[in-house]
Structure formats: structure tokens, C-alpha cells
């Protein structure tokens, strides 16, 4: 058996803790606890109030993530648990010609737009950061690939009439706070971003109404950008003539203002900007880490890859820890916001331990780093993952 020093320390730690029944190991197990929430399949529990639930990896074998398996992420308690569409309205106002109050029926009269897009939490992969950072300790399951149906935000804004001098648009949902001092979750987009063709207000996910925990009845979709902007259970859109700098835009959800969005591990950035477009990443879905394969047989290595709104140009795979790389084949193309499924048929001839790695590159040359790029909030995770398998 070939184990690194770090693995040995980890193992030794586990043995030591097990021997003395430390609570930390029980807690580690608890981190993988599967729970059932309404309208959702069994998901990995991060927190229960407000609910934060992660999608188990096996769902990523599918091109489209079932809506009931999609991750759940809320910021403040209480979250909406009941919506009556006869009473629900979307209010649009601020620096506009008129104030609107639209029912779902009004919204559905506008032209419908449908496309598939990856939704990914800014902190997806945070638990892999070293040194560790506070926040939701997501593995790779705070993402999914779903088909969204709705109306263009631009059409709704134009109905209200954007007045000259407008610079940003804010979005508020039905989630609330227990006391006034807790900042309500409100996000903003620059006006030019908000007016883009593909920004929609979705009332459908995979052809159905949204689960309440994923933003019923209407959620903002900003394809290519991290899900922090995809405000759930929308109730109010406001056009502003100045920059919006409340808590969830500043200081929260910001990245270092440099090309890598990273700083020296353990340090703080001098200047930050709001997080925005997703980095390019790939994930090996099969085989899983620790799998045992048979030598001489063909094994289909498969996974997914996506980037922040630019098509994936290629995904290469290594079965020797990054020494040599092979081109993979792609599955069905659902457009630049969707993930692609990739495959590589591998026939390991010799028994032993193998390190598999996948690296994606998008159409503008953005790729993935071999070493993780660190930032204090644990965002933008896209390090080339390593999956260790044994061939027997």
C-alpha cells in the first residue's frame, strides 16, 4: 500500500479519534446525512434552518438534473413555505416610468424563452479549500444542469419603462429575516447585464413549476453567472440610478479584483469586485474515487464540463496523474450554458493504482488550474480533480 504522509496523518487521526470516541468523527459522518425535504429527493444535509442541501454525485450521470434532486441554498431564516398565486405579485418599480404589479398570468402572456443552463453556487467545492474557510462546506454537489422556461427580464423592465440615468437593477424574494438587523437577501445586476437577451424570469424548471425550495413561483436566471444572482421566489425588482451596496453585494459574495480571483492562501485581498461569471470546470463522475476496476476490461470514464457561458471546446483526460493526456468524446450539445457530458474508453492493462484527472477548456481558452487558487470566501473552485482508482 502506498500512502502519502498526509493520508497517513489523516488515517492516524481517524484511528485515534475512533479509539477515544471523539465527537468530531460522529460529526464528520453527520455531514453526509441524507434528508428528505418537501418536493425533494433525499439530499445531503448541510443545514436545516435555513435549508442548505447538496445533490449526491450520482445524479451528475444525467445530462439534465432532476428538479427534485437539485441542490437547495437559502441565506436567511425564514424561507417561504407557502405561496398562493392568486395573491402573489411581482412588483417592478424604482427609476421607472411606472410601477407595475404583475400576476403570474400577466407574466405568462410575454414571449416564452427556454434553454438549459448550469446553476452553480458560488461556494461549490468550498470544503476542498486549504487552508479551510468558513461558510457552507459544499462538496461538488452545489450545482446542477436544468432546463429553464420563463420570460425575458428585459421585456418586463421595458413594460415598466427604464428611465434615463439608471445603472443597476435589484432583486428581492420572499425569504425574510428574524430581526431587522439581519440583512435581507437582495442582489443587484448592472443594468446592461440585466438587459441581455438570455436573462430570464423562470416559472419553469424541466417543464414543471419550481419546487418551493428552488424558488417557486418565479426565479431570476443569469446563465453563465454564479447562482447567488439567481434570486428565488421573486417579489420585487427595482431599477436604481446608483450602485446598490447592501450586505449581500458588499462585503458578501465578492472576489479578489485580479485575473485569477485569488490571493496568497491565508491573506486578504486589497480590492474586491462582486463575483460574476463562472470559472471553467470539469468533474469525473465515473469511476468514483476509490473504485476498484478490472484489468484488461474497457471502462468508460465519464464526466461533465461547463464554463461561464462559453462552449466547452475540449476535455482531456489523464490516467497517469497528469503525465499524458487523451481527448474525450462529447455527448449531446444543449448550448453554451449547459454542461457537456464527456467520455473516454479506458482499458487498463496492468494492475495498480491510477490517478485520473480531467481538464476542460472553453472556446475562449479558459481552463482549469492544477493547484487550487485560494480566496478567503472559498469561491470559484475549479481545480483539476484527482480520482484515485485501483485496478486488479
Amino acid at each position: 500500500m502506498n500512502i502519502s504522509r498526509r493520508d497517513f496523518m489523516k488515517l492516524a487521526g481517524i484511528l485515534a479519534f475512533s479509539a477515544f470516541g471523539s465527537p468530531h468523527i460522529l460529526l464528520a459522518e453527520e455531514k453526509k446525512r441524507l434528508v428528505s425535504f418537501p418536493e425533494k429527493k433525499e439530499l445531503i444535509l448541510l443545514t436545516s434552518r435555513p435549508p442548505n442541501l447538496e445533490t449526491p454525485l450520482h445524479y451528475f450521470k444525467e445530462l439534465i438534473t432532476p428538479e427534485d434532486a437539485l441542490f437547495v441554498r437559502w441565506h436567511t431564516h425564514p424561507v417561504p413555505t407557502s405561496v398562493d398565486l392568486r395573491l402573489w405579485r411581482l412588483r417592478i418599480g424604482g427609476n421607472t416610468e411606472r410601477e407595475l404589479s404583475l400576476s403570474m398570468e400577466d407574466i405568462k402572456k410575454l414571449e416564452k424563452v427556454t434553454y438549459t443552463a448550469v446553476i452553480q453556487c458560488s461556494g461549490n467545492g468550498r470544503s476542498f479549500f486549504e487552508p479551510k474557510v468558513p461558510g457552507g462546506q459544499w462538496g461538488n454537489g452545489a450545482m446542477g444542469n436544468c432546463t429553464w422556461g420563463g420570460v425575458r427580464l428585459r421585456d418586463v423592465l421595458n413594460m415598466a419603462g427604464i428611465r434615463p440615468g439608471s445603472v443597476e437593477v435589484t432583486f428581492d424574494g420572499l425569504d425574510s429575516v428574524v430581526m431587522p438587523s439581519v440583512p435581507d437577501f437582495i442582489k443587484s445586476l448592472p443594468l446592461d447585464k440585466a438587459l441581455e437577451d438570455d436573462i430570464i424570469l423562470a416559472y419553469e424548471i424541466n417543464g414543471k413549476s419550481l419546487p418551493l425550495l428552488n424558488g417557486f413561483p418565479l426565479r431570476l436566471i443569469v446563465p453563465g453567472w454564479y447562482a447567488t444572482y439567481w434570486v428565488k421566489s421573486l417579489t420585487e425588482i427595482r431599477v436604481l440610478d446608483k450602485s446598490f451596496e447592501a450586505f449581500w453585494m458588499k462585503p458578501a459574495y465578492r472576489i479578489p479584483d485580479n485575473p485569477c480571483g485569488c490571493v496568497e492562501p491565508g491573506t486578504s485581498p486589497n480590492k474586491t469586485v462582486p463575483i460574476n461569471r463562472m470559472t471553467t470546470r470539469s468533474l469525473i463522475v465515473e469511476p468514483e474515487d476509490g473504485a476498484v476496476l478490472k484489468s484488461g476490461r474497457v471502462f468508460r470514464i465519464s464526466g461533465i464540463a461547463f464554463s461561464g457561458g462559453y462552449s466547452i471546446k475540449d476535455v482531456v483526460i489523464s490516467v497517469d496523474g497528469g503525465k499524458t493526456w487523451h481527448q474525450t468524446e462529447f455527448g449531446r450539445d444543449l448550448g453554451r450554458y449547459s454542461w457537456v457530458q464527456w467520455y473516454y474508453n479506458w482499458r487498463p492493462s496492468k494492475p495498480g493504482k491510477y490517478i485520473l484527472m480531467a481538464k476542460a477548456t472553453n472556446s475562449i481558452g479558459e481552463s482549469q488550474p492544477f493547484e487550487s487558487l485560494w480566496n478567503p470566501s472559498g469561491y470559484l473552485w475549479n481545480k483539476i480533480e484527482r480520482v484515485e482508482v485501483a485496478v486488479k
Binding site: L46, T76, L85, G136, P183
Partner: protein
């Protein structure tokens, strides 16, 4: 004839009103989190638990006293948690002993 049409309309209206698409209500599960006994646990159970479930604590990696101090202070100063200096000290002590490194 008129009455029949009226009746049909009324039935249709009722169907629309009770349509599942119009109304969605869920009940969230109340999951219990047992934290290790220790000095300050009661403060954690009452004060931290006001805004979030206690799995927010168990989910975190093991942190140093400085890191827990930073987190508790963020809860107080940024999120406005009404926690006094004395209570905060007790909470930080509990977290650092039971979830420290």
C-alpha cells in the same frame, strides 16, 4: 339552458380555485442537532439558534479561537445578533473547546 351553463362555469371556477398550480405549501422538517455538553452550550442553544439551526456549527471545519472569534463577531456586528460581550465570550469559549483546533 342558462342554468346549465352557469353551473358548468361554476364548476370550472371551483376547479381553477383548488388547482394545485395556484397554491403551494410545504412543511419543513424539524431536524434535531445534538451538540456536545459543555460550558456555554445553553447560550449557543438559545442565542445562535435564534437565526439558524445548530448544524451551521457542526458543518464548519475545526477553527482556531481567532477564527471562532471572527465568526461570532460577524454574527453580532454584521448580522446584528443581540449577543452581549459576556455571552459572546462564553459562546466563543464553547466553540473553541468543542469545535476547535
Amino acid at each position: 339552458m342558462k342554468l346549465t351553463i352557469l353551473l358548468i362555469l361554476l364548476i370550472l371556477l371551483c376547479i381553477t380555485i383548488v388547482s394545485a398550480e395556484d397554491m403551494k405549501t410545504i412543511t419543513l422538517p424539524d431536524l434535531k442537532i445534538e451538540l456536545r455538553e459543555g460550558e456555554g452550550l445553553n447560550k449557543v442553544k438559545t442565542l445562535c439558534n435564534t437565526c439558524h439551526s445548530l448544524d451551521y456549527i457542526t458543518m464548519q471545519p475545526l477553527f482556531s479561537v481567532q477564527q471562532w472569534t471572527g465568526i461570532v463577531n460577524k454574527m453580532r456586528k454584521v448580522f446584528g445578533a443581540p449577543i452581549s460581550d459576556i455571552d459572546a465570550e462564553e459562546i466563543i469559549k464553547y466553540l473553541s473547546i468543542n469545535f476547535g483546533r
